[in-house]
Symmetry: C2
Subunit: 415 residues, 2 copies
Amino acid sequence: MAKTVLGIAQGAKSAQRLLAKSSGAVRTQALNAIAAALREKAEYILAANISDIEAAKLNGMSESMVDRLKLSAERIEGMAAGVEAVAAMPDPLGAVLSGTTRPNGMKIQKVSVPLGVVAIIYEARPNVTSDAAALCLKSGNAVILRGGKEAINSNKAIAEIMRGAVESAGLPADCINLIEDTSRDSANELMRLNGYVDVLIPRGGAGLIRSVVENSTVPVIETGSGNCHVYIDKYADVDMAAEIVFNAKTSRPSVCNACESLIVHKDIAEKALVAVAGKLSEKNVEIIGDEITCAVLDFATPATDDDWGCEYLDYKISVKVVSDIDEAIDHISKYSTGHSECIVTEDYACAQKFLNEVDSAAVYVNASTRFTDGGEFGFGAEIGISTQKLHARGPLGLKNLTSEKYIIYGSGQIR
Amino acid sequence: MAKTVLGIAQGAKSAQRLLAKSSGAVRTQALNAIAAALREKAEYILAANISDIEAAKLNGMSESMVDRLKLSAERIEGMAAGVEAVAAMPDPLGAVLSGTTRPNGMKIQKVSVPLGVVAIIYEARPNVTSDAAALCLKSGNAVILRGGKEAINSNKAIAEIMRGAVESAGLPADCINLIEDTSRDSANELMRLNGYVDVLIPRGGAGLIRSVVENSTVPVIETGSGNCHVYIDKYADVDMAAEIVFNAKTSRPSVCNACESLIVHKDIAEKALVAVAGKLSEKNVEIIGDEITCAVLDFATPATDDDWGCEYLDYKISVKVVSDIDEAIDHISKYSTGHSECIVTEDYACAQKFLNEVDSAAVYVNASTRFTDGGEFGFGAEIGISTQKLHARGPLGLKNLTSEKYIIYGSGQIR
């Protein structure tokens, strides 16, 4: 019989107490065992994945979604290599982050420790199962995975293999847990397990994230939703601007760091809009514009107020013309999800003003928003991109899966 | 007419955008203006405080609660000096926390920025009003204060004075906001203002904190609740143990870092219990013990299961005898709120084991749990003590009122 959500959480909490005591060497060994097992049992995973794919096709899932769900020998090799890359990273635990000796002789040290039990609620992609588990294990956290129903057979196979590998390395299998019940109830229960779950990280679309933020009593790291803006300043290099917008919009439109909205200074609007639209037409990007944009680009669709806050995740972009940089920053402040924004400018003061005043996780001068990514930032694998200001902001790496505690060496001090 | 909670939050959000652009010098100047104004208008605050005190007495408030509520010339001077101390601290904003140049030439820097709008829901003590506002202002955050009804007149007077002072320094008065409606509705509304409030910090009793954790959709930093343990190990210096327990229990029983529960190794139980009880009898501390404790100390009251999780906040302590250090750590793991725990031991291995395995914000060897405090740790003023693992753990100083963002200097990079 499948374990209850509470039963799984209790098991995870017990396992985590043992995991927290393990050495970095043992955790690395467990990760390498996972990578080896994923490779060795690739056929088993592929067979499970085929049943997910068949069910998805029967349920009329779109081609692109089926592609995200689909595993192959190459993709499983990629998962294994990803786990090995996490294994090879430095141990984030046990670092002395700061320390002091007080006037009374007490030595106080702040050290890095695991968060504890990390729960991850996510959608279709089965590679998240191994990525997330690897990052959590490396950082001494037990993980509770609650994937979507579309990938349940793949996820069960992957989790089973990982649990076996963890056990073979001498750690409890319950360091890695999959909730097999993919109903809304299981997610809701997980969101309220204060005392068992230390942190909840949702990975998926805006609906999933909203539901978690609304319903969770467990602390949440909000990730992912990205209504990213590129602002072409009066002093922009128009060719550079067109290249950056084209890259930010079209290199991978379905991801959170893709550009969704373009803002253009009025003094450069005509020239910039023609240049950008020319590039975007190569990929048939639909342009949704304000009045001035539609006057310059007669093929553009008029924007409604709803467009400014919309994350299209598609070959589609909203375009607004502004009077000055302040109006651009105000517009971003009003509609951005706080993920990534870019100014294209050759002007020093405008660049500094934009960097200082735009309150997003990543603020760029003259570079594509598509760089907001753990790998691109040089952090290695990431577990998501935080758009909240508490705990961590931007790409979440291993370090962000740790907490800290103070240890105090005394000799009888009283206050 | 009093502003609505939403209206206040909108005002705070606008003000914060201006505050975020201010220099450290201006923020320091505003804080010094607040300190001067509190001193200058001390009579005005005292008059308002008298009406709170009178209402409290009419409502039958306990002597000790009335004392917490009561202001005096000295206490107002203390508030002013506290604000000046915050003013004198280094600016926590604009620090480059890390930085790297990527292979493609992009320069990525992580810089410290304000959290944004910080809301604080708190109970009786009016000095929290100036302490919290000062820490938030210094760190570039607008603050929304929602104090208890008992201190409403004092809080209104203090907030009015602070708002005037902030304005005199050239910052918007709405950097500091008091919600005058002290109903449960106003607190509940504040807890759900995602998009306006970035972080909510409750300061008060267990009931308040539970209500905030249960109901808030805004990210919360959980503070305060402290079921702190002292474990007297087999290898303890019994005299030192008695001094530490006495200090941890009786120096200020109403605070969160006071010891609530004593654990004693069986091999040292008789000697240790007699020594500790002897010291505790000086302050008439009631002892609630398990079977062995009651056998040794015949005046002890038998403990029920509820006692182990209870934060007495009084001259009362629960006592349990254990077979070994593992049982002590298991007991702490089960009942602690994760605030502060102490082992008293002369044994190296036991000390290391306790430091490694006890998962609390502050873990002590041979020192009183009463040291868990921003001032005692050398951080200056604190806004509370976090017992959660996300964002910050232990005493919350200025640094913990900041977030970070990535700024990226590019030259046309695309991905």
